[in-house]
Symmetry: C2
Subunit: 363 residues, 2 copies
């Protein structure tokens, strides 16, 4: 597989008792965890973490929990503004804090997603003028980044800025502001607010647009001296696995900015593929999207190739898979999970588990 | 048609003789020219302007000249670096100065195209390191913009920066530099050199990419305080007329930066259309692309609609059509001219002539 030398460090360890080196003793050296962030969303476990479930739902959640921590060490929690604060001034802070604490207590890092995005922005913004919307956006960021500092120190600060000012599916506050002030000032506003609220935070620019448009945005943002800590590259692959060549070419294009890369929102389906002519994945709505045996075998194979490729690239420091189990919560109802809707593991889970928990370099 | 109020100004004129107003005299008021720049390339007339033709070629060029000045008032001249300076230090300045003078003496403004571009960059750049290439680029700009100041005060300063650093069809100097330093610094380098050489110059950013990528580039450039005087929007329509809706939507997206727009490199074919699956138009190479009666009728109709749409938009201050006559010199051999290869006018010529030379508002 791809050389993993960039993931390996040498260390000389002296085992002591009362400060005296121990000779002729058996020592067990075992890997406990990874510096690499194997992430997944934690959306499905928020209710469980808050003790809101009962009966069989608890057992199901316990199975999910076991599988989640069986492979992953980095949780993304949802801060979609209209759901987080449906009524102005009444944010869902308590439940999200409990969920974040629940993950951190079990050893996982947590990322918040997102602080600013044109999708899932609250409708109540539409009653404000642009200056007021911008003010509400900054206030929301300041509040939430402060409230979670120490518990969540990684944020997808702003999502999909490339399309933000020209997004025309429906009217929304962030698009109005971004169209008026421009992308770079919008990014600056969001980053400045988040940085001030938590100077230790790792702040990401995150986008699904892998074209020269995202490059151009990044270059404008960096040239404006906005300190981006990492770049998020979304990679929903409902229309098929990108393959190693495209993945590496994409990584190389974005790695040239010298920033760490989070491969975010990555998914591989274990059923039929979405037809290639669909441009906006949201346009593909079908009543049931089944996970199939052939699809699961393909998914497992591609998952191993995908993770080997990403971990093999020196710029990638995190992968955030977008879903643990199939089911009602999955975006577009797509069977992208590592578990089936009933909670049983697909071959992809077993494959990734072996890869992550044995040794990634195959030794 | 679209209201042309933004093209019309009212003036009170007093006709005097020896400073005394003349009463009861007949006065002829006629439009002599347009403030609007109806542009076309002047590539085909450079040899003629330099007295390099003889025999029937002279007669052909005279016909082209007559037709060119019958409609157009703004010439684009070629400064493709590898043709302009095939041997380092031996630029084709004299011939281009003569051509520029020839156009200006006949009342046309002149634009130079382009000062920096990854295509048609000289091969001799490849022997230099990146710092040397950048230095050669600046030197070339300083020299040429200075040499032509007063004669050419409008420049497509940099062409197709969106794709410049990732252009991978062949190795070239500007791509190497742009990939290393980034798009915004590349634009700054070119604009700074051109501005210093001719502070009165109108400097354009010009691109064929009408997507959010060009928007993102522009926003980064403007945020970096690089003074762009006008935006060039390329519009080769070999795959079909955009139509009013797309044209206006595109104009509105780029008009929001408050800069004048030059609709550059615009073309409409009078033959069959290039198949829609072609992504890079350069990939479509056929031995002969005929102008047909049906195609010419369609081209004339679309030409009128296209010019009415553009002149009707308040941000557009120039249209640069990309070719006068069909023939060997036409890009891709496409029949995009207003004249056939034999120099006879197509219906599109008559239609545009009527539009430009009668009155654009139909009065």
């Amino acid at each position: 597989m791809t050389a993993l030398n960039h993931r390996i460090a040498h260390a000389t360890v002296t085992v002591t008792a009362e400060r005296t080196p121990l000779a002729h003793q058996r020592v067990v050296v075992a890997q406990r965890s990874h510096a690499f962030r194997f992430g997944n969303i934690g959306f499905e476990l928020i209710e469980f973490a808050n003790g809101e479930l009962s009966g069989t739902a608890v057992e199901h959640a316990q199975r999910l929990t076991e599988h989640w921590f069986g492979v992953f060490n980095f949780a993304t929690l949802p801060f979609y503004w209209d759901r987080f604060e449906p009524v102005p001034g009444q944010p869902d802070t308590r439940r999200l804090r409990q969920a974040a604490r629940w993950f951190t207590e079990r050893g996982a890092g947590v990322k918040g997603h997102p602080l600013a995005w044109h999708t899932l922005a609250p409708a109540w913004l539409l009653e404000l003028d642009n200056a007021q919307i911008a003010k509400a956006q900054v206030k929301r960021i300041t509040r939430d980044v402060s409230d979670f500092a120490g518990l969540i120190d990684v944020w997808d600060a702003i999502n999909e800025v490339v399309i933000m000012p020209v997004f025309d599916k429906y009217d929304n506050g962030p698009t109005r502001v971004c169209r008026e002030i421009g992308r770079v000032p919008m990014v600056r506003m969001v980053f400045d607010a988040a940085r001030a609220a938590n100077p230790r935070a790792t702040l990401l620019l995150n986008d699904f647009d892998m074209s020269v448009a995202y490059e151009s945005l990044i270059e404008g943002v960096l040239e404006a001296d906005i300190a981006v800590d990492a770049l998020g590259l979304q990679s929903h692959m409902h229309q098929g696995y990108w393959g190693e060549e495209k993945t590496l070419a994409t990584l190389d294009r974005f790695a040239r900015y010298g920033l760490p890369i989070h491969f975010t929102e990555t998914t591989l389906v274990s059923g039929h593929l979405m037809p290639p002519e669909i441009v906006d994945l949201n346009d593909y709505q079908i009543p049931h999207w089944a996970s199939t045996p052939e699809g699961e075998a393909r998914q497992a194979d591609e998952m191993v190739r995908h993770y080997r490729t990403l971990v093999g690239h020196p710029s990638v420091e995190a992968i955030t898979y977008w879903g643990l189990a199939d089911g009602a919560g999955a975006w577009l109802g797509a069977p992208v999970g590592f578990l089936r809707a009933d909670g049983t593991p697909k071959p992809s889970y077993e494959a990734l588990h072996a890869l992550v928990k044995s040794s990634l370099d195959g030794a």
